[in-house]
């Protein structure tokens, strides 16, 4: 077929407008990530083309002007970011150039180029967001690109259906899934984006309440918990134990180094809950479990302070199984080492608090009444809950307890434990998460980073370590106004929130729960699908237990099946051949082996006379074949299949073709 060379075919105004629409569609998710000024630059080219096209005006831009615009944009991007390197600057530059490319697209090849580029440009969206909604949008965008590509290359583009494009996309989906599941994966990423570390709420292995002036609440999932038992724990029991901090140097709380010398003594009693935790990567070794974790599957370890620790750092999402008993008793008896650790206070600091604590303790008489006294004190006195406390570097407890009287959970927990220790009661700080949102769709609790919390534990003879949450004693009226709504909603500070509240959620809640459920599935099964999961899948398919030659055999079979299938598809294009054609084809094959090939446009007569001219010795064999073939093919159009002459002729042709000796 004669087709005009691509470089001679011009791009029509309509096609350019459809390109502009594709660009807008592709760039939209990226624009959300770009600064607003760059968005304006990126929008310029497609909108210019669309407007000029709508007005039936020429879209031509002077080449030199275009060059100057491109250079200016590049300089601007460099100015804005100070570099071309890195994710943001690189993407900004590419996106700007991609949109400007439209202005210099005149040739037909530019059309295909821009559309092909669009696939790659869209992939850049995944550098910014990997959330679930991108997936349907990607399908939409890809369908549009394929549609425009097919339409632009079709012979008659006036009425071109959507269906072939959608069909192509859908047909490619199983292949994509197959490659996704089985294409060999590297253990780590090939390259990493230089990321920025942000500080915010969450749990770290130390706690220095005094030197934080602003705490950001991060609205990202920390972990999800799915109970395998039917009963759910009480809302007031939703304390997710992370770390126990026992060593205090006056500023910072840490884990005690002597802790490992203490033997574990946890007595399970009361109701036991079993559940799976799906933990987001923390890059730390500790794990979280409902207070009090009593047993744990897998290689992870339950420590003597009833915290969980993994054998390695959690660099990727993991899933583990724990059982917890809220009424379990930790350390019914306290070893001397443990007692010593949990009474230790730095010398010569916070003297005022120490004095105050001893006075109050002697008034109260027992540990329990002293704790009640302290909670009462927090509740009655003007203590405030705020995320923007003043900095209290030295004498933090004194400063907090007597002067500022405002802070967040760390201040309360820290001071509370200090008071108890000063009064001679073993006490320690526990950090972790508190509360959680129940997802009715997925049937799990979602615990977010902003649910991070710190509380206190003190030791009583026969009861072991008892949890007390001093932050919850703050009077609701004294919670920072900006936080109040949030706090009321989550209710984790105040145990008054009834369980029934969970059930009466509106459709908006329901939608957001459904969304989190879908997102969690997406996270778990798509984004976190790594080499290990792949190996697990192969293991599950029992491929490893098979001998190697079995596997090779299966692979070979699959390959052959695919080849056979393709071959069938290709050969079916010749439609099913009848007997005459088969016999003729057999002759052609025989001749091709001898080095004479029929051109596609050659008829039998022309071909055979050429062959006989080249090889006169074959005339006797070939002439009858040609004669019979022409008779059967061309002589009578309405040859009855039962006609005797026809059958004889066909039989002869078949015989001659089969026993052709050259």
């Amino acid at each position: 077929m004669l087709v005009l060379p691509e470089n001679q075919r011009q791009l029509s105004s309509n096609k350019k407008q459809s390109l502009a629409l594709v660009q807008l569609l592709i760039l939209f998710p990226l624009m959300l990530q770009l600064p607003i000024i760059l968005t304006a630059i990126v929008l310029f080219a497609p909108i210019y083309v669309l407007v000029r096209g709508r007005l039936n005006q020429s879209m031509a831009v002077n080449r030199w002007l275009l060059l100057i615009i491109s250079l200016l944009v590049a300089i601007f991007v460099y100015q804005y970011y100070g570099t071309f390197r890195g994710k943001d600057a690189g993407v900004a530059l590419i996106v700007c150039m991609y949109s400007l490319k439209l202005l210099e697209s005149w040739k037909y090849r530019d059309f295909n180029l821009i559309l092909t580029l669009s696939f790659f440009i869209f992939a850049m969206t995944f550098l910014f967001t990997q959330s679930f909604w991108v997936l349907p949008y990607m399908f939409l965008a890809f369908a549009v690109i394929i549609y425009v590509l097919m339409r632009g290359n079709a012979y008659a583009s006036i009425s071109f259906s959507w269906k072939p494009a959608l069909k192509l996309l859908l047909l490619s989906a199983p292949l994509m899934v197959l490659l996704f599941l089985f294409f060999p994966r590297l253990p780590g990423p090939l390259w990493k984006m230089p990321g920025q570390l942000t500080s915010g709420s969450g749990v770290s292995d130390t706690m220095s309440p005094g030197d934080i002036s602003t705490l950001n609440l991060i609205d990202e999932p920390a972990f999800r918990v799915k109970f395998t038992t039917d009963a759910l724990p009480k809302t007031s029991d939703l304390y997710w134990r992370g770390l126990v901090l026992e060593s205090y140097d006056g500023i910072t709380w840490r884990e005690s180094e002597q802790r490992s010398d203490i033997t574990k003594n946890i007595q399970t009693q009361g109701e036991v809950f079993e559940y799976f935790v799906t933990l987001e990567p923390t890059r730390q070794r500790w794990l979280f479990g409902l207070d009090v974790p009593v047993s744990l599957r897998q290689q992870s370890r339950l420590k003597s302070d009833a915290t969980l620790v993994a054998p390695y750092r959690i660099n990727k999402r993991i899933r583990y199984r724990v059982s917890s008993a809220p009424e379990a008793i930790i350390s019914e008896t306290l070893t001397p080492v443990a007692r010593q650790i949990n009474l230790e206070l730095p010398e010569d600091s916070n003297e005022q608090s120490k004095q105050w604590a001893i006075e109050k303790f002697t008034e109260a008489g027992s540990a329990e009444s002293f704790v009640a006294e302290l909670l009462q004190h927090i509740n009655q006195q003007p203590y405030f809950y705020t995320l923007t406390p003043p900095i209290m570097e030295r004498e933090m407890v004194d400063d907090f307890w007597f002067n500022h009287k405002s802070g967040f959970c760390e201040h309360y927990a820290s001071s509370f434990v200090f008071m108890l220790r000063a009064a001679g009661i073993p006490a320690r700080v526990v950090t972790g998460y508190q509360g959680g949102e129940y997802n009715q769709v997925g049937g799990y609790y979602l615990i977010k980073q902003k649910d991070a919390h710190a509380w206190a534990e003190y030791w009583v003879q026969d009861k072991g370590w008892v949890r007390v949450d001093p932050t919850s004693a703050v009077a609701p009226s004294r919670v920072d106004v900006s936080l109040q709504a949030e706090m009321m909603e989550r209710g984790f500070l105040f145990d008054e929130l009834p369980d029934a509240e969970l059930l009466s959620s509106g459709w908006l809640d329901y939608a957001s729960q459904w969304f989190d459920n879908a997102n969690s599935f997406w996270q778990e099964w798509v984004l976190d699908y790594n080499q290990d999961n792949q190996w697990d899948l192969l293991k599950w398919l029992k491929l490893q237990s098979l001998p190697a030659y079995y596997v090779n055999g299966i692979v070979l079979l699959v390959v052959f099946a695919v080849i056979y299938f393709l071959w069938r598809r290709i050969s079916r294009q010749h439609t099913h051949l009848d007997d005459v054609a088969k016999a003729y084809q057999r002759v052609l094959k025989r001749l091709a082996k001898k080095g004479v090939k029929k051109r596609v446009d050659e008829g039998a007569q022309q071909f055979f006379s050429r062959v006989i001219k080249q090889n006169p010795q074959w005339q006797h064999q070939l002439s009858p074949i040609l004669r019979d073939y022409q008779t059967l093919r061309y002589r009578k159009s309405a040859f009855s299949k039962k006609d005797e002459v026809f059958q004889q002729c066909l039989a002869r042709l078949k015989r001659n073709a089969r026993y052709l000796q050259l």
Binding site: M1, L2, V3, L4, Q8, Y155, H574, L577, A581, Y584, Q585, V600, D601, E602, G603, A604, Q605, Q606, Q630, R633, Y634, R635, K636, S637
Partner: protein, 305 residues
């Protein structure tokens, strides 16, 4: 029958030297009851060939020289008032003849050109409300100069479609040109050529051509070719169903010439470019003409097994 045709071929080749294939196609056109268009520069022997054909086939012959002031009535004839009979009597024009040589057809205005239309397609003319049959066989041989010459009105597509075959003679081979120059003008020879056939015999031949068998396989091949012209981006439009019929007709005639009673793909290939070339209009910027595209399509379309 075929021997007579061979004799005719021989005679014609003696008159128009070195143009065997064109002569053969002209005969095919006549046998297929089609009209012939010969397109070339002035002085290439168009008229001579046309003249010789009509003589050799023993047909009644009229020549119309087309000019820009030729009127339709000059072709079809008019009714003139006869004083003696006190009535209009019809004076038939040159079109009432078995062979019309329409010389330099594209020099006439479109109005006059279209007067030929009805005659060519329906073998009848309508003058002043009265339809008159044309003699049989009826055969128009038109010659034309290439369209880019000054003072030409290109034939409308509708009229081009009515010519079965378009031939282009081209410059003669130097060898033949030499013998032409040595022996002098051939026009006289054409005029003195003896008729080799009666018109009854020609009609009989045309009937035999009709009877040639076209099998389903050939029709499939032909359809493939036609559809390919409709899909080609190099053409403004594809072939009409009439063009498909025309190819079949010509292929049959060619098969008959080869003394076969059935059409084979080679017959179709042989006549394809001549029959189709003038019906195709190459699009836009490509430097191709209809013949080139037709040739390319032929080369790229597989013959069904």
């Amino acid at each position: 029958m075929q021997q007579r045709i061979d004799a005719i071929k021989q005679t014609l080749n003696n008159i128009v030297l070195g143009k065997e294939s064109q002569v053969e196609m002209a005969i095919v056109c006549l046998l297929a009851k089609g009209h012939l268009l010969i397109e070339d520069l002035p002085g290439m022997g168009k008229t001579t060939l046309a003249h010789a054909i009509s003589r050799v086939f023993g047909l009644e012959f009229q020549r119309i020289q087309f000019t820009s002031d030729l009127l339709p009535a000059d072709i079809t004839g008019t009714a003139i008032f006869d004083r003696n009979q006190q009535a209009f009597s019809f004076h038939p024009g040159p079109i009432f003849s078995q062979v019309i040589l329409a010389d330099e057809i594209n020099r006439a205005t479109p109005k006059t050109q279209s007067a030929l239309l009805e005659a060519m397609e329906e073998h009848q003319v309508t003058i002043e409300g009265e339809t008159r049959k044309l003699p049989s066989p009826f055969f128009v041989i038109a010659t034309q100069n290439p369209a880019h010459q000054i003072g030409t009105y290109p034939l409308p597509e509708s009229q081009l479609d009515r010519f079965l075959v378009r031939l282009s003679l081209g410059y003669p081979h130097p060898e033949f040109e030499k013998s032409l120059l040595l022996s002098g003008e051939k026009r006289a020879m054409a005029n003195s050529a003896k008729p080799q056939l009666t018109s009854e015999q020609l009609i009989e031949m045309q009937y035999q051509v009709e009877q040639i068998n076209v099998s389903e396989s050939i029709v499939d091949y032909l359809l493939k070719l036609v559809i390919e012209t409709r899909r080609s981006p190099d053409l403004v439009h594809g072939l009409s169903p009439r063009a498909g019929l025309a190819i079949t007709q010509a292929a049959k005639a060619y098969a008959w010439l080869q003394q076969r009673d059935f059409v084979i793909p080679e017959d179709v290939q042989h006549v394809f470019v001549s029959v189709v070339g003038h019906r195709l209009q190459a699009s836009g910027q490509s430097q191709l003409n209809g013949d080139d595209v037709a040739e390319a399509i032929l080369q790229n379309t597989a013959v069904p097994l």
